[in-house]
């Protein structure tokens, strides 16, 4: 067997497997407990398939009581637990722990209620993101955060990752659109955080749990806000001769006081890949395209459309199209929405990176990424949420070529460090998971990491939920060797070196 993706320090659980299986067997129906290798195989990785592990067992509870029971058993026996939604995470957040239980929330797939008058939906965590908007559509409502994976990903996974999407520039991330969640804690308690009101007494634990990557509790119910579908939408597509000019156009639009419903950029390799795949009639010779969606009422959108068109021209766009009808709008978006699979077609494998930068550093970051691409001899295609400065460089590689994935990972790490260097972050929406855990050492000081660990312990004192993910131990950072050096002092002189 290949060495574990986990480090030895995260594999120190002593698990009485027999007792675990027996107690789980008493709590769950036989078909809700997968123990043989073949049935566990489909759970060995999430969307980041380069990392794989088999869990001891996969549990598929159907009721909140069963979740409580599973967690209580795990707490009693000191067994790690990894919650899993749809498994589309791109940061190996849902990677199983080899000594633990993989808790699949797939059977929690009911939309409990859609309340038109209150504009809310109460759903179980396994419900797919898109299914919420579909259920709300008959009332003229929708759920705003729309990750590109929305056909598949679960709302539980969205809350755990604080997922974003094209609409998030104007309508916010998951954290802005969730009103309340019910979690089961590692103590087996069922706790509701937030409420249907706009605020709640006490600390904002709802915000704490959102984006916590399954480290603080298991989500069993979620209440989301629904928004009215905007009466009018217009979609523009503009081609630019340089990536720089496209970047300036983005800043120009925002400086003009316009917040588009979506503002996305693709560079030439991404444009070509998307065009080959979906035939959206994209301008394949452009250095970059911007796709801009304006939404609101007729008057406002009308005004904005004229302004934006003028600005795009002013910033050097040489081909500006306004979608004439619903079909064309869908076509403009189709290439962007399918950018990842499209790139998948032009390369045996690709690795999707996720970092955010201050937008004004865009040109510089792209230039330095090009240099890195040459240095590591790996091609990079870029699609990004331009309005938010959230980059998704796609590194193209071939997993069958020995050493190429290692080089890809190193290049990915360098790009994330570059994001931090220019004042950004190592993850804008995909989470840290297992993937970016070393780069967390670059972004955060020792004290901040300690504070994160303390916060985790407030929810999960024994550290059984998703161990080894999201927040690195100081030990790990010391070994990674990239922690900030404060005041000329060596990082962590107090931690023994190996």
């Amino acid at each position: 067997m290949a060495a574990s993706v986990y480090r030895s320090e995260d594999l120190t659980f002593t698990v009485d497997v027999e007792a675990l299986l027996q107690r789980l067997g008493n709590a769950l129906e036989p078909d809700s407990l997968l123990v043989d290798e073949e049935s566990k195989r489909p759970f060995e990785c999430d969307g980041l398939s380069a990392y794989r592990e088999l869990p001891l067992v996969v549990a598929l509870p159907e009721t909140v009581e069963q979740v409580q029971t599973v967690l209580t058993i795990c707490r009693d026996l000191g067994v790690p637990v990894v919650a899993r939604g749809a498994g589309t995470s791109l940061s190996a957040g849902a990677l199983p722990h080899p000594q633990g239980v993989l808790l699949s929330m797939a059977k929690f797939n009911r939309i409990v209620e859609v309340d038109n008058a209150r504009r809310i939906a109460r759903v179980q965590p396994g419900v797919r993101n898109l299914a919420i908007s579909e259920a709300a559509a008959p009332h003229g409502l929708y759920y705003a955060p729309d990750p590109s994976s929305q056909i598949t990903c679960s709302i539980g996974g969205n809350v755990a990752e604080n997922a974003g999407g094209v609409h998030c520039l104007k309508y916010g991330l998951t954290v802005h659109n969730v009103l309340s969640v019910t979690i089961v804690t590692m103590d087996g308690d069922v706790v509701t955080l937030g409420s249907e009101a706009l605020d709640s007494p006490g600390y904002d634990l709802l915000a704490g749990v959102t984006g916590s990557e399954g480290m603080l509790g298991v989500l069993v119910e979620i209440t989301v806000k629904l928004l009215p579908q905007p009466p009018v939408k217009e979609v523009l597509l503009a081609a630019f001769p340089t990536v720089d000019s496209a970047g300036h156009a983005v800043a120009g639009i925002i400086a003009e006081g316009i917040i588009p419903g979506g503002l996305e950029m693709m560079d030439n390799p991404a444009i070509r890949a998307a065009e080959d795949f979906v035939h959206a009639d994209y301008p394949v010779n452009a250095a970059a395209i911007l796709i801009c969606e304006l939404d609101g009422n007729t008057e406002e959108v009308g005004d904005q459309l004229n302004k934006v068109r003028g600005l795009l021209e002013q910033y050097g766009a040489n081909d500006i199209r306004v979608a004439a009808n619903a079909d064309e709008k869908a076509r403009f978006w189709a290439g962007r929405k399918a950018a990842f699979p499209a790139v998948g077609r032009i390369s045996p494998d690709y690795y999707c990176i996720d970092g955010t930068i201050p937008r004004k550093r865009l040109a510089e970051v792209l230039r330095r990424m090009e240099e890195l691409s040459e240095e590591y001899k790996l091609r990079i295609a870029n699609v990004f949420h331009a309005g938010d400065g959230n980059l998704h460089p796609l590194v193209l590689y071939d997993g069958n070529v020995p050493g190429e994935f290692d080089r890809t990972e190193q290049l990915g790490g360098k790009i994330l460090e570059l994001c931090v260097e220019v004042g950004g972050t190592v993850t804008g929406e995909h989470g840290v998971g297992m993937e970016k855990i070393n780069q967390m050492c670059v972004q955060f000081e020792k004290g901040a990491l300690e504070q994160f660990h303390a916060m985790k312990a407030a929810f999960d004192p024994a550290g059984l939920l998703n161990p080894g993910k999201a927040v690195p131990t100081l030990h790990r950072c010391a070994e990674f060797g990239a922690m900030h050096v404060h005041g000329g002092k060596l990082p962590h002189p107090d931690i023994p070196r190996f």
Partner: protein, 355 residues
């Protein structure tokens, strides 16, 4: 304009000294909310003089300021660039500080449509109860690295640490604004406002008092004009002063010395069925109420409607100011306090007696 002054080293030293001596601390911004929350005893830690806008990039929609910077100063810098704090353009004429605003976590009338303080925060620097001065979040729009400490600290009333710096998202100021007054009872008004919003009208405020709805529209000039024609009613000549009066509680309704309750409810929650003078904000989701109803009864009623009630001002000093938490949530609150402030030195008891 206040001085550009970084007092954070001094603040860290004060916290460390208190930690060593076992002294409790009471954090003070501008003191504009001294009436709010439970009484605190402790050596004062003042953010006065820890001031200055550290970074402001209008095209990035981000502003970073030291915690003691007056809100008024932030407001004026934003106005010069045609921008605002979207949860409500503040125009405080007191000493209210940026740190105090996020520590209090309160939001003005635009909250249901433009979000709250916690929605707009991007990052902060905080001195925790171990005397460590750390940064969380950052200055970019999207950031999910680490737990969202900045949002958890927003609204925590200084019980988790000393905020020294805040980065927040700002937005363009709308081109046009207009306030309409319509004769309508709260139930009918709530429904009407919701429907106008669904039709795409640029609603950014809806407050009801004594059979009158105050409706604020803000957006592009064309959108506001069309909405005005569609909705009717009477245009208020100085609308922005009225909204400011509502937010800063200078409207005549707020002149009473009686205990004032702040009741936060889900949409269309219906009638509270309690006696007393009241004003509805947030299209009925926030209710200000002067009542003689005992706290327990009022809270039970608010809870049964899915909301909660805060004794915002007045009343017995040792009365529970904030709505009691369910046991599970209370335990998590206590443990979180422990995680940030293990020795319990910051604003002890300001929110809850044991927090």
């Amino acid at each position: 304009m206040s001085d550009n002054q970084d007092r954070s080293t001094e603040l860290v030293e004060q916290v460390r000294a208190a930690l060593a001596a076992g002294t409790r601390l009471a954090i003070q911004g501008g003191g504009s909310k001294s009436f709010y929350g439970r009484a605190v005893e402790g050596e004062p830690v003042t953010l006065q003089g820890h001031t200055g806008i550290v970074n402001y990039e209008p095209t990035e929609l981000v502003l970073t300021a030291r915690a003691g910077t007056p809100l008024r100063e932030v407001e004026s810098v934003l106005t010069d660039e045609g921008q605002m704090m979207p949860f409500d353009p503040p125009d405080f004429d007191g000493n209210a500080t940026v740190g105090g605003a996020f520590a209090a976590g309160l939001s003005g009338p635009a909250r249901p449509w433009h979000g709250s303080a916690r929605d707009l925060i991007l990052g902060m620097r905080l001195i925790n109860g171990r005397g460590e001065h750390n940064r969380y979040g950052g200055e970019v729009m999207k950031n999910v690295a680490g737990y969202d400490v900045s949002r958890v600290v927003t609204g925590s009333l200084g019980t988790l640490g000393v905020i020294t710096e805040i980065s927040m998202k700002v937005l363009p100021r709308p081109e046009a604004e207009c306030t309409l007054v319509l004769e309508q009872d709260p139930t009918a008004a709530t429904l009407a406002v919701e429907n106008w919003f669904r039709e795409g009208m640029p609603v950014t405020g809806a407050a009801m008092h004594e059979g009158r709805l105050h409706l604020r529209l803000a957006g592009s000039a064309s959108a506001v004009r069309v909405a005005r024609e569609r909705i009717g009613g009477e245009k208020l000549s100085d609308g922005s002063a009225w909204w400011q009066g509502l937010r800063d509680q200078t409207l005549p309704f707020f002149a009473s010395d009686l205990p004032l309750w702040r009741i936060s409810l889900p949409p269309s929650a219906g009638n509270l069925d309690l006696d007393g003078d009241r004003l509805f904000d947030w299209n009925g989701q926030l209710r200000w109420l002067y009542t003689a109803t005992p706290a327990a009864e009022l809270r039970e009623r608010a809870s049964s409607l899915g909301g909660h009630a805060t004794l915002f001002r007045g009343g017995a000093p040792d009365a529970a100011v904030f709505h009691p938490l369910t046991p599970g949530v209370h335990t998590l609150n206590q443990r979180l306090k422990q995680a940030f402030d293990p020795d319990g030195i910051f604003n002890r008891g300001r929110m809850y007696a044991d927090i």
